[in-house]
């Protein structure tokens, strides 16, 4: 993993004690996020150098004890119990709550590890007018004790000094061993009490919670609490859907410019075509969502950073539990309205395995931003922009109902799974209510960048690959069918004018291409939903990612309009079905909308579900149940409206 000559420093501590702050302080820009082998907990590693010696720093997930209660805590336990390494542990403790913090510290000492105790939040200790005798504490624990303030960077040099000069022979904390965990823990607390009585003078009192409790009187209030949460949700949605339109328009025109530029400046041919219609089109389809994802995660990080998210979980737990979910499910469900990929990753914080699994299974039913372009283009086909019901814009209402439909279906599916999935183990829902703190803007920035990166690279890879595949499928056909078509028309050259001719050739080629063949093959299956083979092609390509629908439509209907004088909307409006009637009737369009609300059409999400559940079973079930919902829902709607 690292050079033998390097020293590994491992940061361990309870959640919310300032570990990440210290980690950032120690490593600065020299850090990266990876994964612990076999599991999906983020592993943050970095390094710093002193006099040419390199120190690797590893930030372990926060834990309360070595008796794990969640995926995160298991990682920390396994890392500490691993006797093959000789890493130096920097235990980060919140000095205002030493008793609880020292429990884990004492357990680590008894694992025979080399420990430095970093007492963080010293500023708060002074504010509380408490005093602590560091020498005595160090002597009783048998390890160096360094006071720090990670927020302001105080004490860091002392800490580094202690790291470079480390030479202590660990002495066990508990002399008598006890196999019963509860008794063992009680013994530890008893000894910690004795030590703290000796070392800490309690002149003042802990003031940190006074303000927090006052704020909680409002934020978790029976009425205002929900009201404030609703207003916040409204602001977040407003931000995602209206503030983001400006950067999204910019990105869109940027890509139009780019594809124009490439199309005109590269020599005509296969490469040009592949770049413009395959790669750039696919890339544009992903990058366009970056503003929405960035805005969403900015809000989520701020809400988590301040401590507000824990209150939302508290307020929502009882309601969500009816559906087999958990107060913490609110974060993944909310994030899913931007993109299910990071949302499903954020379900890791849910300790209860069954509730976590259900959250992962239903999150993709929430309408994500990839569905927005599909909704937009389809709705415009059946409702004109300025039609209203009293003061409400009808298009807006329709979009809202699709969102609600997804949300309600997610809850109902969760309810069903609650009955079907067997719980392996019971797990309690305990959630610490952190004290309110100002958000760390730098942390918000880091979080946004890392989430956008995951989206661009994890999802992007697949979308680009499929875009290229799609391009191949629609540009080539079996055998020499394409040449036959060319030949056929050479003879007719005189009768038709040039444009008409090339459009005829192109549409006939598309029909004969592999994509056309696939579309025609599935046509009988999707006919009951009101779709033809061209829509069939879109359904197939959308399996990669929903927004590919719009691109596919553009490709399918651009055939016959070489100068691109009409918008996709106009072209779809004019599209005819086999009998020569209008293809996108109200029935067909609504049916297609319903299909996109329900169907599991996202390779990236499936990949992440597989990674998070470590089983191929769950993504497969997801494809099937969401597919069934889509098929039946669309069929019912089509039958009603036609």
């Amino acid at each position: 993993m690292s050079d033998i000559s390097d020293t590994n420093i491992v940061l361990v501590g309870n959640p919310n004690t300032g570990k990440s702050t210290l980690f950032n302080l120690l490593t600065g820009l020299n850090q990266k996020v990876g994964n612990f082998p076999g599991v999906t907990v983020d592993k943050k590693t970095g390094y710093f150098k002193i006099n040419d010696t390199k120190y690797n720093v590893i930030d372990l997930p926060g834990a309360y004890s070595l008796n794990p209660n969640s995926e995160d805590e298991k990682i920390t336990r396994n890392y500490i119990s691993d006797t093959t390494n000789n890493d130096l542990i920097v235990f980060v403790a919140d000095v205002t709550n030493l008793k609880r913090n020292l429990l884990l510290c004492s357990q680590i000492i008894d694992e025979g590890k080399q420990v430095i105790l970093g007492l963080n939040m010293m500023d708060l200790l002074y504010k509380n007018k408490q005093e602590i005798n560091l020498e005595k504490l160090a002597a009783s624990l048998g390890c160096p004790v360094i006071p720090i303030n990670a927020r302001l960077g105080k004490g860091i040099n002392k800490l580094k000094e202690s790291i470079t000069n480390y030479q202590v022979n660990p002495t066990p904390f508990l002399t008598e061993s006890n196999n019963n965990t509860i008794d063992d823990t009680m013994l530890r607390f008893k000894k910690i009490d004795t030590i703290l009585n000796d070392c800490v003078t309690n002149k003042g009192e802990n003031k940190s919670y006074l303000l927090t409790k006052k704020i909680d009187n409002i934020l978790t209030h029976k009425i205002y609490g929900y009201l404030i949460f609703l207003i916040l949700l409204f602001i977040i949605f407003q931000a995602i859907f209206s503030w983001s339109s400006y950067p999204m328009d910019l990105i869109e025109s940027g890509f139009i410019w780019l594809s124009d530029f490439v199309a005109t400046n590269l020599p005509e041919g296969v490469l040009n075509d592949l770049l413009v219609n395959g790669v750039i089109a696919g890339l544009g389809g992903i990058v366009i969502f970056v503003p929405q994802i960035a805005i969403l995660f900015a809000f989520i990080t701020i809400l988590e950073d301040t401590g507000y998210m824990a209150r939302v979980s508290f307020l929502m737990d009882r309601i969500l539990r009816i559906f087999g979910l958990n107060g913490k499910s609110i974060i993944p469900l909310l994030s899913s309205t931007a993109c299910a990929v990071p949302a499903i990753m954020s379900a890791r914080t849910i300790g209860n395995p069954k509730e976590r699994l259900i959250t992962i299974m239903v999150a993709p039913l929430m309408s994500c931003s990839a569905r927005i372009p599909v909704y937009t283009i389809l709705i415009a086909l059946i409702v004109s922009e300025d039609s209203t019901i009293s003061i409400f814009n009808l298009q807006g209402l329709l979009v809202l109902s699709l969102y609600l439909l997804g949300f309600v279906t997610a809850l109902l599916s969760a309810l069903l799974m609650k009955w079907l999935i067997k719980a392996k183990q019971q797990s309690a829902f305990t959630l610490e209510m952190p004290i309110y703190r100002a958000p760390r803007w730098k942390n918000v920035g880091i979080e946004i960048v890392s989430k956008v990166k995951i989206f661009l690279f994890d999802a992007g890879k697949i979308i680009i690959a499929i875009s290229i595949l799609l391009w191949v499928l629609s540009s080539y056909g079996p055998g020499d069918t394409f040449e036959e078509i060319d030949k056929k028309y050479v003879q007719n050259e005189q009768q038709l004018d040039k444009d008409e001719l090339s459009s005829k050739i192109a549409s006939e080629k598309l029909e004969a291409s592999y994509a056309g063949i696939i579309g025609k093959t599935i046509e009988p299956t999707i006919k009951p939903l009101g779709y033809d083979w061209k829509i069939g092609i879109s359904l197939v390509t959308s399996f990669a990612a929903r927004e590919v629908f719009v691109g596919t439509m553009a490709t399918l209907y651009s055939v016959g309009d070489e100068d691109n004088t009409k918008s996709i909307r106009q072209k779809m409006m004019e599209a005819k079905n086999a009998d020569g009637g209008k293809l996108y009737t109200t029935a067909t369009t609504l049916s297609l909308l319903i299909f996109y609300v329900f169907a599991m059409q996202c390779m990236a999400t499936l990949a992440i579900v597989y990674r998070e559940t470590k089983s191929i079973k769950w993504p497969i079930i997801q494809i099937i149940y969401m597919g069934a919902l889509a098929y039946i829902g669309s069929f019912v709607i089509y039958t009603i409206f036609s």
Partner: protein
């Protein structure tokens, strides 16, 4: 009596926690046998509740609180 029966702002001493894994978890979060626990707040639908002990401040479901035997003070 058990913790779930307390109303907002009532206190008690933790006597025992019947579920072992819950006991281990709560102990590590600073809810220690023999120490005082206070019900700080109960959620609008009567569940979950926020409890405090010392400087520890957590939310817990009623079903789990039922496992915690207390002596009301």
């Amino acid at each position: 009596m058990t913790l779930d029966t307390l109303k907002e702002n009532e206190k008690g001493i933790i006597e025992s926690i019947s579920d072992e894994s819950l006991a281990i978890q709560l102990l590590a979060m600073g809810f220690i046998l023999g120490e005082e626990v206070k019900v700080e707040r109960i959620a609008p639908l009567n569940d979950p509740m926020i409890i405090t002990s010392g400087d520890n401040y957590i939310s817990i479901r009623k079903k789990d609180a039922k496992q915690i035997k207390i002596n009301k003070t």
